[in-house]
């Protein structure tokens, strides 16, 4: 199976570990990742300039369409932005015409056929829990883990269709495959604080600290993420030494899975 790999902007510089482990997991599952000449997904421009954010996303989809491939991304903000852009692209006729014109200038076009996968939904729906179970050679039994869903893939449900916006289950099910025990955590669907890290750092870090606190109260050893921005936010503890993590460590889901599959990751 061949898919166009959309890493997003941050992985190549800030979170190489995510990209490497993601590629390793996909290799184990026999997925061919194709790197195309993508641009930004448009998420950073969402509140700033609506047209840019939608056009950026649709242009990526058109590039994938030209190569007759579906897109897979490990980042939830990229995933959410793609879905968001497709939704508004069809809703606004004027915008659609403008975007189609711009695409046409570069000999691109998009007919809506390109599928957009996030890592989690792809593993859950396309690969299946049974296959993952079979491939996991190593089990981490009894380790308690809290999962961080990430807002932009979950909500708004009418646009993303990822999972239930307030009581999602797919991440927990996927984590169980590796033998880990997902804990009941009230903040699993709440924001990590990353979107306002620049605009309002103090608040962003307060939110982060509270997430660590409640995860530790729920008895978790780890917080598991499957989004570039969430993981970067949790790793802020490396730079802000006065954040109390309550002994909870952030970990990328792909790293757990890679270790379970017997990959290079030591976990």
């Amino acid at each position: 199976m061949k898919l166009a790999y959309f890493p997003g902007c941050k992985i190549s510089f800030y979170l190489k570990a995510y990209g490497d482990s993601f590629e390793s997991v996909m290799k184990h599952l026999g997925i061919d990742l194709v790197r195309l000449e993508f641009n930004c997904c448009g998420y950073p421009a969402r509140g700033e300039h609506f047209e840019i954010s939608v056009f950026s996303a649709i242009k990526n989809l058109a590039v994938a369409h030209k190569n007759k491939l579906d897109i897979i991304t490990p980042c939830k903000c990229c995933f959410g932005q793609f879905k968001h852009a497709v939704f508004w692209y069809y809703k606004h006729k004027n915008l659609k015409t403008k975007i189609d014109d711009l695409l046409d200038q570069e000999n691109l076009s998009w007919d809506g056929s390109t599928q957009i996968h996030h890592l989690l939904s792809f593993l859950y729906h396309e690969i299946g829990l049974d296959t993952l179970e079979k491939r996991s050679v190593k089990k981490f039994s009894g380790k308690k883990i809290a999962v961080q869903y990430g807002c932009h893939a979950l909500r708004p449900f009418s646009v993303t269709r990822f999972d239930h916006p307030y009581a999602p289950t797919i991440f927990e099910d996927l984590v169980r495959v590796t033998g880990m025990v997902p804990v009941e955590w009230p903040k699993s669907t709440e924001c990590c604080g990353n979107p306002i890290l620049e605009g309002h750092k103090a608040l962003s870090l307060t939110i982060l600290e509270n997430k660590f606190k409640s995860a530790s109260l729920a008895g978790a050893e780890y917080i598991c993420t499957a989004c570039t921005h969430c993981q970067m936010q949790y790793e802020m503890t490396d730079y802000e030494s006065d954040i109390d993590t309550h002994g909870v460590k952030p970990v990328l889901f792909t790293r757990i899975l890679d270790a379970a599959f017997g990959g290079k990751t030591v976990f």
Partner: protein
């Protein structure tokens, strides 16, 4: 966005460069490995010119300290030097011609993709023309020496004991037939004499003269020039060409610091400086601006791979693209009066720090850090970003601010017109569910002013400008928790995002007004 933290990070750097890096950067300087990775065709003719010129400078121009020292059999007219000089010279000429063709046919990547200032249109042209002329006159000089009778006679005087007579005639005949010398009058052909000439040639000349045909370009030119051989020899055109050739070389040396050719020195310098360890932000700033800025050759590969290129396609602001940002930064460094700080700030804020430009840059400039430093300089100065701007102003004062309509240059069609149509928010029943799920309200109760449901109510009261200035709108996490739980199906987050857009456009106008006012006051 993740900018402040990232720009706070330093690569540790080191006092002395890593030897492996040193070797790699040396190889890069000679073979342009980074350019090869970026574009093969461009590398090809760049390498033609560079390799050719490098050989000519080291072995030909500075032969006294290179070739003469290294090879005891060296003489400019001996193979392989005679042949190599022609080979590398023709490489330079071929590279220059390809360069002119590309300029003429407008095949450069960045010329298609962005608006270039006229000052950049001819940049780099003078130096390449100089290089072309130097090598061109070099070939002509060699050719004119080949056909020159006076030069032949000088050589005969210096290196043989022949006097006027039959033997000299025989040697002349040999050189006329075999080496294109134009004699006046022409020596009459005679196979017997030619044979004797060959013997004399072996006695006197051959130790310093290889077969003239190995200088293949000059031979071709000499063949053409021999039609006017008499006139050219009488006017001593070889002496004239020698002066022109030498003069042009001196002109190139004088011009070097002011031309784009200075990248020959600036790129290695910037790479060397880049490896030093900075201790403070100021040092880092000085490092980035001091060296790497001027190592840029404006090749435009960075803009080709730029992640936010669609931003440029929609807004038409060239300062979104890296190569244009560098030009603007250079202008600022030059204290150029006509600089749009405005466009630069807008463009630089769009950067997502994906590192693609740094990876492709053939000059090895650390562009990623350059943008981070630029971003910090803007945040430190008057042109603040919108989030900081709205933190400093109360929503009530913001709503009363008057904006001149002509300042709304950044106005765009608000395609997602939720706040313009009342049916998006009029059904709000003020149930406060959105406020109850909002993480900003939960953790920021002290500083936050309006809650989401109050923002919706402001819209119902037709106070959209007041709503767009509230802290709630600008600290919203965009987590969509409110929107999905709303019993009335009101797109709360989408409305907040649109209010940001509306506020942003107006804030830009206000900031522009302030800048203009300041400028008027200063002048």
């Amino acid at each position: 966005m993740f900018k402040p933290a990232s720009s706070d990070r330093f690569n540790p750097g080191r006092l002395y460069p890593n030897p492996v890096n040193l070797i790699l950067s040396f190889l890069n300087t000679i073979f342009q490995i980074r350019l090869f990775a970026a574009g093969k065709i461009r590398w090809l003719f760049h390498f033609f010119v560079f390799a050719g010129f490098l050989y000519l400078v080291t072995v030909h121009a500075f032969h006294q300290v290179t070739a003469v020292v290294l090879f005891d059999y060296y003489d400019p007219t001996v193979d392989p030097f005679q042949f190599l000089r022609n080979l590398f010279g023709s490489l330079v000429v071929a590279g220059c011609i390809l360069f002119f063709l590309r300029r003429g046919l407008r095949l450069r990547v960045n010329q298609i993709k962005s608006n270039w200032g006229s000052h950049l249109k001819y940049k780099g042209l003078v130096s390449i023309i100089l290089v072309f002329l130097i090598v061109g006159t070099g070939f002509l000089l060699e050719a004119s020496k080949i056909i020159s009778e006076p030069v032949f006679m000088e050589m005969v005087e210096d290196y043989s004991d022949l006097e006027e007579g039959d033997e000299l005639e025989e040697l002349k005949l040999f050189w006329q037939e075999k080496a294109f010398v134009s004699f006046d009058p022409t020596v009459p052909a005679d196979p017997e004499k030619l044979k004797n000439g060959q013997v004399l040639n072996e006695v006197y000349c051959i130790s310093c003269h290889s077969d003239i045909r190995s200088s293949f370009v000059s031979c071709l030119l000499a063949d053409l020039m021999s039609f006017y051989g008499t006139v050219l020899n009488q006017t001593r055109v070889d002496v004239m060409l020698y002066r022109v050739h030498y003069g042009l070389c001196l002109a190139l040396i004088v011009f070097l610091p002011f031309s784009r050719l200075n990248h020959i020195f600036l790129i290695p310098l910037s790479i060397a400086v880049k490896n030093q360890a900075p201790k403070t932000h100021h040092q880092k700033t000085a490092q980035v601006f001091g060296a790497s800025l001027f190592a840029c050759t404006n090749c435009g590969y960075c803009s080709q791979v730029c992640s936010v290129y669609p931003h440029f396609q929609i807004t038409g602001n060239p300062d979104v693209l890296p190569h244009s940002k560098i030009e603007t930064l250079k202008k600022i460094a030059d204290k150029h009066p006509d600089v749009s700080l405005w466009g630069l700030q807008k463009g630089n804020n769009a950067c997502t720090q994906c590192n693609k430009c740094t990876q492709i840059c053939p000059s090895g400039i650390d562009l990623q850090t350059l943008w981070a430093v630029t971003h910090r300089i803007f945040s430190d100065n008057a042109l603040v970003n919108n989030q900081t701007f709205f933190n400093r102003i109360l929503p009530e004062a913001w709503a009363d601010l008057e904006t001149e309509p002509r300042m709304l240059i950044a106005r765009q069609e608000l395609v997602s017109d939720l706040i313009e149509k009342t049916d998006a928010f009029e059904n709000c029943i003020q149930c406060t569910i959105c406020t109850n799920v909002c993480p900003v309200v939960e953790y920021d109760s002290k500083d936050n002013d309006y809650t989401p449901q109050q923002v919706m109510n402001l819209l119902r009261l037709d106070q959209k400008h007041l709503a767009s200035g509230t802290r709630m709108v600008w600290t919203c996490l965009t987590c969509y928790a409110c929107q999905d739980i709303c019993p009335q199906k009101i797109p709360v987050t989408d409305i907040i995002l649109e209010l940001r857009h509306l506020g942003g456009v107006r804030a830009d106008a206000v900031k522009l007004q302030q800048t203009v006012k300041k400028r008027v006051e200063i002048s």
